[in-house]
């Protein structure tokens, strides 16, 4: 059955599905280049693609170092957020009392636009790496909590009956039914979390930092170095794509039994 799916994907309509977006992207970049040249827009206002590429390789900025700083914060924060989120999801699923106690705080934190609290985190924890990572943790843990707790709860009732009829303990039901059932939900949460992690890293660097891509963008504003800012945008776009793709690859590896959509 998989064979049919694979061959149709490689056929003409399949190629068109990937080809058209690619053509659209290339045409967009070419138009951008032409319009900037036609209207003689100065690079500090809106740089052309070629100017961005030139600026990128001019060697004034150590892109690898700046990127690794931002990526390091994002990944550290995301990992902590994922672990904390998963733990909270398990706790509120297993204990109705703890769910009721924790829920108002979790909901309040979710409704609040979390980047708003960024400046205050620095008052609490100082202008340190810890503060930056904490903001990312707050941004990433919530989608994990919500998705995993849904996955742990939204279980086929019959499977619970089946295990109960076999006198299975709550722990057995948790490990054999609830936990594996939550995996697809977890990966959906992870997709949201990784993009949240980048947002968190950039905002954290806007508020306080002297390095990283967020700092670079803010610094570009002061120095009218728009070309550098666009270079950072390009890197962030690629980073976002790579992180998202990594989640999808990991999901396919760990869940060969799952097909979304």
């Amino acid at each position: 059955m998989g064979g049919i799916g694979r061959t149709t994907r490689l056929s003409l309509p399949g190629l068109a599905a990937y080809g058209l977006p690619l053509v659209s992207f290339v045409v967009g970049v070419v138009l951008w280049q032409l319009l900037v040249a036609l209207f003689r827009i100065p690079a500090y206002l809106f740089p052309s693609p070629s100017a961005i590429i030139q600026g990128f390789f001019a060697g004034r900025i150590d892109w690898v170092q700046q990127t690794s700083i931002t990526l390091n914060e994002a990944v550290t924060g995301a990992l902590i957020g994922i672990v904390v989120g998963f733990a909270i999801a398990v706790v509120i699923t297993l204990s109705a009392t703890l769910r009721q106690i924790l829920m108002p705080y979790i909901v309040a934190l979710q409704v609040l636009p979390k980047v708003a609290i960024a400046p205050i985190i620095y008052i609490l924890l100082g202008f340190s790496n810890t503060s930056r990572v904490l903001l990312i943790v707050i941004l990433t843990f919530f989608p994990i909590v919500i998705n995993v707790s849904t996955g742990l709860t939204d279980v086929d009732r019959n499977l619970i009956y089946l295990l109960q009829s076999l006198r299975a303990s709550r722990a057995t039901i948790f490990f054999k039914v609830r936990l594996p059932n939550s995996l697809p939900y977890f990966f959906d949460g992870l997709k949201i979390a990784v993009s949240g992690a980048l947002v968190g890293a950039i905002v954290a660097e806007f508020v306080s930092s002297n390095s990283g891509l967020g700092f670079l963008i803010l610094n570009s504003q002061y120095t009218f170095n728009t070309v550098a800012a666009f270079g950072a945008f390009a890197i962030l776009t690629v980073l976002g794509l790579l992180l998202y793709a990594a989640v999808i690859v990991l999901a396919r590896q760990l869940m060969p039994w799952y097909r979304s959509g």
């Binding site: 019959n158 109960q164 076999l166 006198r167 039994w257």
Partner: protein, 256 residues
Amino acid sequence: MPAVVVLENVSKHYTTVKGHEVQAVRNVSLSVQPGETVAIVGPSGCGKSTLLRLIAGVEGPSGGSIRRETAGGHFIVGYVFQDSSLMRWRTVYDNIKLPLEVVKKRDLGNVDRLIDLIGMKGFERSYPIELSGGMQRRVSIARAFVHEPSIVLMDEPFTGVDELTKEALQHELGNLIRTLHVTALLVTHDIEEAVFLSDRIFVMSPRPGAIVEEVPVNLPSARDPSVRSSLEFFAAASKVRAKLLELHAMRVDAAT
């Protein structure tokens, strides 16, 4: 030999979210003898599934008593559900193995034996998503038999399967029940399915479900699809249908 399970005046009511009392099952008395297949036929929502959960011990009755025969060790059930309810993250082999894991049986020989019996050799490593609806039903049936349960409870096992596949599956299930000498309780709204598979049929009234008639099925225990056109088959099916129609008419009268 003592009955595998005996229900005496069993009732069950629930309290709904709005606080209303709903009676699902009313004064049900029945017993299932070792090696026989008993069917309960009734309209949708008459409390048939509730009855199975009570026998499985997943829920407790509000009134009456349920006696389970435990002479040969533990009373343990096999369960077949309406929509297979397989674990999608487990392969065919691991889905069938599940009950053995839970009751901590080391000997996994039955898994291979059942895969063979349901004709799924070569599909051991397939996931449910890769199987047809009929194959998924077969796996869920194998899962219910693998741990040699005291009784197999089947809750409308072939709902939503096309007619021809359904008849083939019913034939296979009948053979499996005979080969493995299983005691079974089948709940269904499909009259032909009840007649084809069982030795006795209980007819249940609409909610609150009560047993209103017992119909014996006078067919040989070994059955192939040709019995469907026999006189005895027709007689039993007609008797069940007449009782269900009578119940339906009473309900319509009461409503108007």
